[in-house]
């Protein structure tokens, strides 16, 4: 009996051993068959965003001999886009030193073509949080292979990596919030329809969740600075997998003249934090007790465009323009008819004044005459369709 048991034990052990060896001896399946975790220099922290083919990873960094923190991640063959984010507590200025694609091009260097030099917060540096979005124009792509970065002292680096098929359209989920007690969800529904219509006309479907009311009085008026403790506490309540629009009752402090502002160009995506949303002032858009829905919808759509990575097509002075090659530029030298150094939408009609991302809205009399800012160029649509927060 014992010899039979020994033989059975021997055969089972041998089978298990050979099976294990076989696993080690298997041929490499290639990049496309491996999981993103296997391919990336990531820690175990990983989040799947509901309904999206976007995953969030924290990237392990090592200190190099040059003193920079360094890390890498691998974009698989079906990579669509990524947002590489860097964080530093206590809100000191933070940025990357370099970000090198699989072909060896540092996309943050002024000497590279194309580059995001001084166009990306991850290169310029901002307080507490900065990022690099790829693609932020059709000139860039989330190339498959290993990307490496060097960064200044930071707390952590994370990536929101979107995979899947090449997008020809996109759906983005929007989560509106209202603060204060003056207005309710019903008051902003017309503006949300305007915003949805603008995006729909440009090939982007918005799924707008039910508005959440945050009635705590402390959030009814907040600073437009996202590192302010109260603003941070408000915006951090935003959902991770959506674009969060905070319709605040009013701005506080020195932000009193602002209609809306985004947490960045782009802001954070996929992670609940202080930079994961935009602020829009309701009281600024009111006349008496009525909200001006067309302008409010345009402001919300404009700030959402920033949050997703779109710049102003033409900046105030008419000398600085976005990085896209198909958006109209309204030049100070030829269009500043009143010579006040500011390009109005009226002066730039036919030269980008109609674009949703023009730096300023039509003035009151133009709006009364029916002027709207609802257009996006093909390249602007490209950035939105490839967004890590889109599907």
């Amino acid at each position: 009996m014992y010899p039979s048991l020994f033989l059975i034990f021997f055969f089972i052990s041998t089978a298990l051993f050979l099976n294990s060896c076989g696993r080690f001896m298997l041929k490499d399946d290639g990049v496309e068959k491996k999981s993103i975790e296997e391919l990336s220099g990531v820690s175990s922290v990983k989040t799947n965003l509901d309904g999206l083919k976007t995953e969030i990873f924290e990237i392990t960094q090592t200190v190099g001999s040059d003193g920079f923190l360094a890390g890498f991640f691998v974009v698989p063959e079906d990579g669509v886009s990524f947002l590489l984010s860097i964080f530093l507590g206590s809100n000191y200025k933070i940025k990357f030193y370099s970000l090198t694609d699989p072909d060896g091009t540092d996309v943050l260097s002024a000497s590279s073509t194309p580059n995001l030099y001084e166009a990306s917060s991850g290169n310029i540096g901002t307080a507490g949080y900065a990022n690099v979005l790829v693609p932020q124009s059709p000139s860039f792509s989330a190339k498959a292979g290993t990307w490496t970065f060097k960064a200044y002292t930071n707390d952590r680096v994370s990536i929101a990596l979107r995979t899947g098929s090449t997008p020809s359209a996109a759906t983005i989920v929007v989560q509106p919030y209202i603060t204060g007690t003056t207005w309710s969800a019903g008051d902003i529904s017309a503006a949300l329809s305007v915003m949805s219509g603008i995006y729909s006309a440009n090939g982007i479907t918005l799924t707008i969740n039910s508005t959440i009311t945050i009635s705590d009085t402390q959030y009814s008026a907040v600073s437009g600075t996202f590192t302010d403790s109260t603003t941070s506490a408000l915006v951090t309540q935003g959902s991770a997998a959506t674009v969060n629009l905070f319709f605040i009752e009013d701005y506080s402090g020195s932000w009193s003249g602002i209609l809306g502002n985004a947490a960045g160009i782009p802001g954070s995506m996929g992670i609940a934090n202080s930079w994961n949303g935009v602020l829009i002032s309701l009281s600024a858009h009111a006349s008496g007790a009525t909200l001006k829905s067309q302008l409010l919808g345009e402001t919300a759509a404009h700030e959402m465009g920033h949050q997703l990575g779109l710049f102003h097509t033409t900046e105030t002075g008419g000398t600085v323009f976005d990085i896209l090659t198909d958006t109209a530029e309204c030049l100070n030298s030829t269009k500043d008819f009143d010579r006040n150094g500011k390009m109005s939408a009226e002066e730039c009609e036919g030269y980008g004044g109609e674009n949703l991302m023009f730096w300023t809205a039509w003035n009151t009399s133009s709006r009364s005459a029916g002027k709207k800012q609802e257009t996006l160029s093909s390249h602007q649509q490209h950035v939105l369709k490839y967004s890590p927060i889109a599907k």
Binding site: G257, G288, T364
Partner: protein, 167 residues
């Protein structure tokens, strides 16, 4: 004599052009914009009577609020008695967003010349029913009158208001 008369008329007209109040559209243009900042130089070029136009805009309830808000901000550049009275009235009697801006403009425009007037308004606003107006007044009072600020902290029932006031 005739020539002298013509020159006088011409001079009178030119003088009239330079001191006349700007028209409303001209002022409104400086209040427009999605991302707005107070353009001190452009407003000062408009002339002395600009305060009257800004007061008209600030008080026009038919206008969209961002124009009214900005008009109040711009009034800080024209520290006349009319301006002070208007800002005090709005700081105390208007809805909270306008009240805060009224106080802010009075503070910015009159603190150097009439600090006691600003302080008296701040003291009254410490009892305002809107928490954010109280916070604005308390932040000013913190540097102006420490004992009164301390009394405010002791009497303020909302802990978040006390925290914000000390930011």
């Amino acid at each position: 004599m005739k020539n002298l008369f013509i020159i006088c008329i011409l001079f009178w007209n030119l003088t009239g052009i330079t001191v006349a109040a700007p028209d409303k559209a001209q002022v409104m243009e400086l209040l427009e914009g999605r991302h707005w900042e107070l353009d001190v130089e452009s407003f000062q070029l408009l002339g002395e009577d600009t305060d009257k136009v800004l007061i008209e805009i600030g008080g026009d309830t038919s206008l969209i609020n961002y124009l009214r808000f900005r008009a109040l901000d711009a009034l800080s550049l024209f520290p006349t008695e009319n301006t002070a009275s208007f800002l005090e009235l709005y700081a105390e009697k208007s809805f909270a967003p306008l009240a805060r801006r009224g106080f802010k403009a009075l503070k910015n425009g009159f603190y150097k010349t009439q600090p006691q007037r600003v302080k008296r308004l701040a003291a009254r606003l410490l009892k305002h029913p809107n928490a954010h107006v109280r916070i604005s007044a308390a932040r000013f009072m913190r540097s102006e009158d420490a004992p009164r600020f301390k009394r405010f902290l002791n009497s303020e029932s909302d802990s978040w208001v006390r925290k914000e006031a000390q930011k």
